[in-house]
């Protein structure tokens, strides 16, 4: 999923304080799962903002709403009947959702309430870690299902650097050495020989080096 964290209240207030009426818009997908921008967080942020604004002697009318998916034009259309009276939209979706809104409602200011973080998964309750950089040419089949691009601090593709100690990365004891993890997996799978294969320099065009990426599925495109 795409993970996110809420921006500091002060930054959000700076965005919205010129307005009298705003739409605070959650998203029911990834940001709900990572507890950053779902219905519940929309409610919490709305009251947090009202309280903070009250203290400073101002107020804004905040209308709360949560879409099934903010990155999907079909769901964003739902907003058309309600958007007219709103002066601005404060989005609690990831950056994809924010941009969907900005593209659809060309004359309406749209602000992000979240910082989009990374593609990852849940490690345990309340903990998420990065797992994919979206390089566009997945090599997990060669590395025992653990990604050195996303999980090695130097994105080394041919083994651990000289800083790997007791399974930890040189940058922090809180970071596991990706190549230790890969090696453990290769051993468990009986694929130790695979380590000796040199992974050649990567073609980063598929990873964004070729400019903004797009997928066109001829069988689905209208």
């Amino acid at each position: 999923m795409i993970t996110a964290e809420r921006k500091p209240l002060e930054e959000i207030i700076e965005y919205i304080k010129p307005f009298k009426r705003i739409l605070l818009l959650g998203c029911n997908e990834c940001v709900t799962v990572c507890a950053a921008g779902g219905r519940k967080e929309v409610g919490l942020l709305a009251s947090g903002l009202q309280l903070a604004l009250l203290k400073s002697g101002s107020s804004i009318e905040i209308r709360e709403h949560t879409l099934e998916r903010q990155c999907d034009p079909e769901y964003v259309e739902e907003l058309v009947p309600m958007i007219g009276s709103e002066e601005a939209i404060l989005s609690m979706a990831c950056g994809c959702g924010v941009q969907q809104l900005a593209t659809r409602f060309k004359d309406k200011p749209v602000f992000p309430a979240l910082n989009t973080k990374f593609m990852g998964g849940s490690l345990s309750q309340g903990v998420w870690d990065e797992r994919c950089k979206g390089c566009g040419d997945c090599l997990l089949g060669l590395t025992g299902g653990i990604c050195p691009i996303a999980k090695c601090a130097k994105q080394l593709m041919n083994g651990p650097c000289g800083g790997s100690t007791d399974g930890k990365c040189e940058i922090s004891d809180d970071v596991e050495c990706a190549w230790q993890l890969i090696w453990n997996r290769l051993k468990a799978l009986g694929q130790e020989d695979r380590f000796l294969d040199i992974m050649p320099a990567k073609d980063w065009r598929s990873g964004g080096g070729g400019g903004p990426r797009k997928i066109i599925r001829e069988d689905l495109a209208e």
Partner: protein
């Protein structure tokens, strides 16, 4: 011979090679570098010029190498993949070779977290093994990494680092094997304090016959003080300083510790000379370049061979 590198000539002639290093200054004063380099004149076969070491901005290793070259010495250009992509690195290699630099070291580099620009983006377009492949392709096939032809190929003698003390230990010989398969000509190891562990690594190296496929220069460092020993033991990632070495440094009064550090270094070299497959020594006397000559002389590695 693959190149005109003085280091290659010394190694190919069967001598124990000696290299040392010179870190460029954190400013634009050439004299700071050339003053340090003077201590190494006639004492070593090549002088490593570090590339933004510990991720701190310094004068570029290419400029530093040129300055060393102008002193009539043989620079060994260090290149890390942290700061430049493949275009910039290849451009620098062409430039370096055009200025008479024919020996280089391929590294991934310390993480930016450790330096004075932790906010910088790490490049890592390629890793150190892919860098070796690239430099070899430029030299032996006159091809850029992208595939087009080079007019006037840079003939670099290609080095890389190896750390026998990092984890997982069982991968450390295999990683050297990968570097050799990628095309490395010589290796400089991490500083050796744990000689038993180094010998164990060399056993694995010999078992795969790797010592016959590249030259292995054993890395040594004289410690200035027990504080330095403790710092390296506890704070430098991938360093293995055994407790008895720290104790030995602590056992002498403060003013005698530099001498003790030099003694340990020389004893280490003497022991490593007996290890089959060690082709020379890389003496990393960080900000202590003036001690290198004494170490080289006392370790019986002086004078350095003159090979034309």
């Amino acid at each position: 011979m693959k190149t005109e590198s003085n280091l290659e000539k010394v190694l190919a002639a069967g001598h124990l090679a000696v290299t040392s290093e010179c870190g460029p200054p954190r400013g634009a004063v050439a004299k700071e570098l050339t003053d340090k380099a003077k201590y190494l004149e006639g004492v070593v076969d090549a002088v490593n010029v570090t590339d933004n070491q510990t991720a701190m901005v310094r004068m570029s290793s290419l400029a530093g190498s040129v300055l060393i070259k102008q002193q009539g010495m043989h620079p060994l250009l260090q290149v890390v993949t942290r700061d430049r992509n493949r275009l910039a690195i290849q451009a620098d290699i062409l430039g370096a070779y055009s200025l008479g630099i024919d020996t280089m070291l391929c590294l991934s580099g310390d993480h930016t977290k450790f330096g004075d620009h932790p906010m910088a983006a790490n490049v890592h377009d390629i890793d150190s093994i892919q860098l070796i492949q690239m430099v070899k392709g430029m030299r032996d096939e006159s091809k850029f990494q992208g595939g087009s032809d080079i007019k006037g190929a840079p003939k670099m003698f290609i080095g890389a680092a190896a750390n026998p003390f990092a984890d997982p230990f069982e991968l450390r010989v295999m990683r050297l094997a990968k570097k050799i398969a990628a095309g490395v000509d010589f290796i400089q190891t991490q500083c050796i304090f744990n000689i038993e562990k180094f010998e164990l690594w060399m056993e694995g190296v010999r078992k795969m016959g790797l010592h016959k496929k590249c030259y292995i220069l054993a890395g040594v460092t004289p410690m200035k003080s027990v504080g330095a020993a403790r710092y390296m033991k506890n704070r430098v990632p991938g360093m293995d300083v055994p407790a008895d070495v720290v104790e030995r440094m602590a056992s002498v009064p403060k003013e005698k510790q530099p001498d003790e550090g030099v003694d340990i270094c020389i004893e280490t070299i003497e022991r490593l000379k007996k290890v089959e497959g060690v082709a020379g020594f890389h003496i990393m006397a960080i900000e202590w370049e003036e001690k290198v000559e004494e170490i080289v002389r006392r370790a019986g590695l002086y004078p350095r061979p003159e090979i034309s």
